[in-house]
Amino acid sequence: MSMKPNAKTVLDVKDLQTYFKTDAGIVKAVDGVSFSVREGETIGIVGESGSGKSVTNLSLMRLIPSPPGKIVGGEVIFEGKDILKLSEKQMRSIRGKKISMIFQDPMTSLNPFLKISTQMVETIRLHEKDVSKQEALERSIDMLKLVGIPSAEKRIQNYPHQFSGGMRQRVMIAQALSCNAEVLIADEPTTALDVTIQAQILELIAKLSNQMGTAVILITHDLGVVAGMCDQVCVMYAGRIVEKATTDELYARPSHPYTEGLIKSVPRMDTTKKGNRLFSIEGQPPNVIDLPPCCPFHPRCHKAMEVCRQAYPLVKDLGKGHEVACWLFAEESEKQRALNEANIKEKAE
């Protein structure tokens, strides 16, 4: 973990909105997400399944299947340009080369018919046309060595099924980093792995990020992984970021009731007293189809107020870059105004 406050911002996401059209209505999978990542920094995105973590990152890569999905608004600034406006051809020179991705499931994200060597050489040569096959192969072997695959010269000629889950995830990382990506998006990179293997992989990602200055976006649902890996954390709920802070700040002062509940509801190995009941957030995550304009967390929130049922909370800065979207931190006048506006709207309808 390293804080680099002066490092330059590599990727800046502003008010990203990705919607999916379904028969049942419009799913606002990502609805106004903003964050930025600096060089050498690791940012964590946590949330439950369906909260829009993966869609956010697929949007950054422009990998949203369209139709039904569509990026309907926002900007993603990378190298001074909005990559959402690039042509598919221009995007191809960025995707996989400058921004690359490690997928959740190492079992299914490598092509089972091709040798590792073929797949890795293909990646490199696709992005750097002037590299010969031999050079590309050598570079691939170096990358495999870097991620800790023993006898890489031999293993590179193997097929994916000859590797174990942890090894395959290493291959994926090697492939993702083989073009010296500036941003690495890791979508639940260790969810499918065991704890001892998870520790190996996380250490590897941290080491590489430190050495190469790669900015890492780590998507996970495991709060323990976030605590160990990330400089900054965004907590997502129902397509929005409800809280954003530095890791220390977030764990020390979780402000949104959802974040607070999430941290309290995980059993902890070090402090939990036996026999105590776990704190639990009652109810289910909301259905994001045609969500009314209210705080999506209010049915499960133990601090819900009238205004939470009427309007989406404003984002408040609590200082030190700690942002929270909750009415608890809003001024009385702001709440009143939101209530009035909601009333007017209701009457108009």
């Binding site: 174990s164 998870q198 250490e203 649902h221 509801s265 009941r277 776990l278 995550p285």
Partner: protein, 360 residues
């Protein structure tokens, strides 16, 4: 509360579950075996929760499946209420199994998508009733009433009893699975990763529900999970498995405060703790390599390939379960009374050869 003096509810002795590997297209012949569970013994006492942890492929699930006789064990015995389930005839076994129920890992796959919630929860009662294995036969009305009672107890609205599993979320489905397991008033519930597929906020709801049910009905649990924090939260005693063997079994408090086996130590140090300050200062023991394939017969310690503290002696001697104290047992040569660290490879191999020849 001393558990030691109580009579165990379930005794597992030297349980082995080997799955044959066959080759040949027409004439199949066995060329080897996957030793999924390779000789484990433990007791489960009434009212306690025995947690089983380990990495994928270490035989946790196979263990509980063998206990409930879903897989017929290769050898060993499972004694429940004085009956050896492995040797008992089918009817006796079925009768005994009324008291042993299971909750499965995947709430999506373990419920028949074409059955309504009512028929899913009623199924165990219907089957046992039709086979006349129940002490007091149940009428359809009794079953109906029991289904409603169970649904309410696990926190499901009984108005939903005619719905199908796909209409429920993951957490609710797991509640259906729990209601089904409770249907026959079992004494012991084998829970195979019941919370692994659930989101954090739902996970704590289910853990609390299971703890409440245990208090209310005096249930005994065997609880499998790979999440060490979950295991610590729910268990009274914990067994750590590696490659089909139990490497350490002890009271939960002891295990977490003072882990003995190098594998347990590594496992505990690898598990992330949701606190950035602690995370940063912790020292991790990162194990190298992967879990080896369980298809070979081993002569040495099962953990030898990855052990950070291995000694020559370990390569050719399988460690027995050593009693450290009343509450803690560990299978590791480090805790043997003799000091084995000075034994050279030659001496160790000679000793192993001698023991082998004595046996034959």
């Amino acid at each position: 509360m001393s558990i030691e003096k109580r009579k165990p509810l379930l005794e597992v002795r030297d349980l082995k579950q080997h799955f044959p590997i066959t080759s040949g297209a027409i004439l199949q012949k066995q060329v080897g075996a996957i030793r999924a569970v390779d000789g484990i013994s433990f007791d489960v006492y009434p009212g306690e929760t025995l947690g089983i942890v380990g990495e994928s492929g270490c035989g946790k699930s196979t263990t509980v499946r063998s206990i409930s006789q879903l897989n017929k064990p290769t050898s060993g015995s499972v004694i429940f209420n004085g009956i050896d389930l492995v040797k008992a005839d089918t009817r006796t076994m079925l009768k005994a199994r009324l008291d042993i129920q299971m909750i499965f890992q995947d709430p999506y796959a373990s419920l028949d998508p074409r059955m309504t919630v009512r028929s899913i929860i009623a199924e165990p009662m219907v089957i046992y009733n039709n086979r006349r294995l129940l002490e007091t036969p149940m009428s359809p009305m009794d079953i109906e009433r029991r289904v409603e009672e169970l649904m309410e107890r696990v926190g499901l609205n009984k108005a939903f009893k005619n719905r199908y599993p796909h209409e429920f979320s993951g957490g609710q489905r797991q509640r259906i699975g729990i209601a089904r397991a409770l249907a026959l008033n079992p004494k012991i519930i084998l829970a195979d990763e019941p919370v692994s597929a659930l989101d954090v906020s739902i996970q704590s709801q289910i853990l609390n529900l299971m703890a409440d049910l245990q208090k209310e009905f005096g249930l005994t649990y065997i609880f499998i999970a790979h999440d060490l924090a979950v295991i610590q939260h729910i268990s009274t005693r914990v067994a750590v498995m590696y490659l089909g063997k139990i490497v350490e079994i002890s009271e939960a408090v002891q295990l977490y405060d003072n882990p003995l086996h190098p594998y347990t130590i590594a496992l505990l140090s690898a598990a992330p703790i949701p606190d950035p300050k602690i995370e940063r200062e912790r020292k991790r023991i990162i194990l190298t390599g992967d879990v080896p394939s369980p298809d070979k017969e081993r002569i040495g310690c099962y953990f030898y390939d990855r052990c950070p503290k291995k000694m020559p002696w370990c390569s050719c001697h399988i460690p027995p379960m050593l009693d450290i104290n009343e509450k803690q047992q560990v299978a590791c040569w480090l805790y043997d009374k003799r000091d084995l660290s000075k034994v050279t490879m030659e001496e160790a191999e000679a000793d192993a050869a001698k023991t082998a020849s004595e046996k034959t």
